[in-house]
């Protein structure tokens, strides 16, 4: 074998080993979800008294086989966790969004293929499963984030949002006053419990969200 052969073989061997070693599995070790929370700097959470929660979880997916909304055990447990935490913070649930100060919704992102140019924060707002402004009785208004919220476009992300319904008519927009971004729900053992725990954690790390 000539020196050139050796150099060639050595270089290939080196590159293969480098490729193999570059990224081992860096998954979560504690079986819990990542939890980001953010809230509006202008929000005074004590001004709200009541809340209304959606009865199903919006599912954002490119797959035509997926439903737009889910209402299975996962969805119901997640909504219940959202409810429990809002009640624990002093808010009272009402059965009609027209009489609610806050509107809560949960969205799960799955199989989204619109990563390329043109997406914007909240780009999933136009997706069929997402609760549109009209759901809250304001079809001509748009949603609005008053802070630089963290958005993730990956599959497996669960998004909690709390909409200011009390001031919507005066402001002519649906301001999101609190959100939580959690994931990856598709790569965790027991996603239902992990989501409930993550929702509890979202409130724990947002102590100012209270009546």
């Amino acid at each position: 074998m000539t020196q050139k052969h050796w150099v060639f073989i050595g270089s290939i061997l080196f590159l293969v080993l480098a490729g193999c070693l570059k990224y081992p599995d860096y998954g979560t070790r504690d079986g819990k979800l990542f939890v980001y929370t953010g809230y509006s700097p202008e929000a005074d959470f004590s001004e709200y008294s009541t809340f209304y929660l959606v009865d199903s979880v919006a599912l954002i997916s490119d797959s035509k086989n997926d439903p737009n909304r889910i209402k299975d055990k996962y969805a119901l447990d997640a909504i219940q966790a959202y409810r429990d935490n809002l009640e624990a913070r002093g808010y009272v649930e009402v059965s009609d969004p027209d009489s609610a100060d806050l509107g809560g919704m949960i969205t799960v992102l799955k199989n989204i293929s619109i990563y390329s140019s043109g997406y914007y924060p909240g780009y999933w707002w136009g997706y069929p499963g997402y609760y549109p402004p009209g759901y809250w009785g304001y079809p001509s208004y748009g949603y609005w984030y008053p802070w630089s919220a963290v958005y993730y476009d990956q599959s497996g992300t669960v998004v909690l949002e709390l909409v200011d319904l009390k001031n919507a008519p005066a402001e002519e927009k649906l301001t999101i006053v609190f959100n939580a971004v959690m994931g990856d729900v598709y790569n965790i053992n027991n996603p239902t419990q992990a989501t409930v725990d993550a929702i509890n954690q979202a409130f724990e790390q947002t102590p100012n969200l209270k009546k």
Partner: protein, 202 residues
């Protein structure tokens, strides 16, 4: 017993003779397993066994080899779950901190034959690619940068054959690279390396 000792003694004498009278190989190829320790880093302070280097050098004068050196080192450190406050919010996660370095240098070795093994002093000058990553769940914050690199090394080559065309080599090295990564607030990269490998005439 006495014969055995004489045999060993003779072998040592002959090895010394060969070492002194050796003809240096025209070229040397080296594969090393590299252990690295970050120095003065706030980001990662754990040593890593995930590293390797490869070099090919030609003899240019009596004791001087020069050629190319290519390496990589991966460093990672697990950070248990905690809550990180933000201006208007917080993040709660466990995470991995990760550094990937690829040094590419022009390396020159000065080799001093000494009895049954050779010492070498080496200086590599070139560039280093550095990638810093924070990995949490399936999300990541990544920044990468190229920098200027200086990499001195010292070690020994231990002959593995009487013909002295293959060696076991081991030693230590230090590397300093100028890579600045603003997101991670780092200014320069320093590492200590311990390496072990083979050196042979291809």
């Amino acid at each position: 017993m006495i014969m055995k000792r004489i045999t060993i003694l003779l072998a040592m004498v002959f090895m010394g003779f060969f070492a002194k009278a050796q003809i240096m190989p025209d070229a040397l190829m080296q594969f090393n397993y590299e252990m690295g320790v970050p120095l003065g880093s706030d980001f990662i302070d754990e040593y890593s066994w995930a590293g390797m280097s490869f070099s090919y050098q030609k003899l240019i004068s009596d004791n001087l080899y020069t050629g190319v050196f290519l390496g990589f080192n991966r460093f990672d450190q697990y950070e248990p779950r905690k809550t990180y406050p933000l201006d208007y919010g917080a993040i709660n996660t466990d995470l991995w901190k990760y550094i990937w370095n690829v040094p590419i240098t022009w390396r020159t070795d000065y080799v001093i034959p000494s009895g049954s093994f050779d010492y070498f002093f080496s200086l590599g000058i070139g560039a280093q690619y550095t990638e810093y990553t924070l990995i949490f769940s399936k999300y990541a914050i990544v920044e990468d940068e190229w920098g200027f690199l200086v990499n001195p090394r010292v070690g020994v080559n231990i002959p593995m054959s009487i013909s002295r065309d293959s060696f076991l080599n081991l030693g230590v090295g230090y590397s300093y690279a100028t890579n600045k990564l603003s997101t991670f607030d780092t200014n320069g990269q320093q590492y200590l390396h311990v390496f072990l490998g083979i050196n042979f005439e291809p």
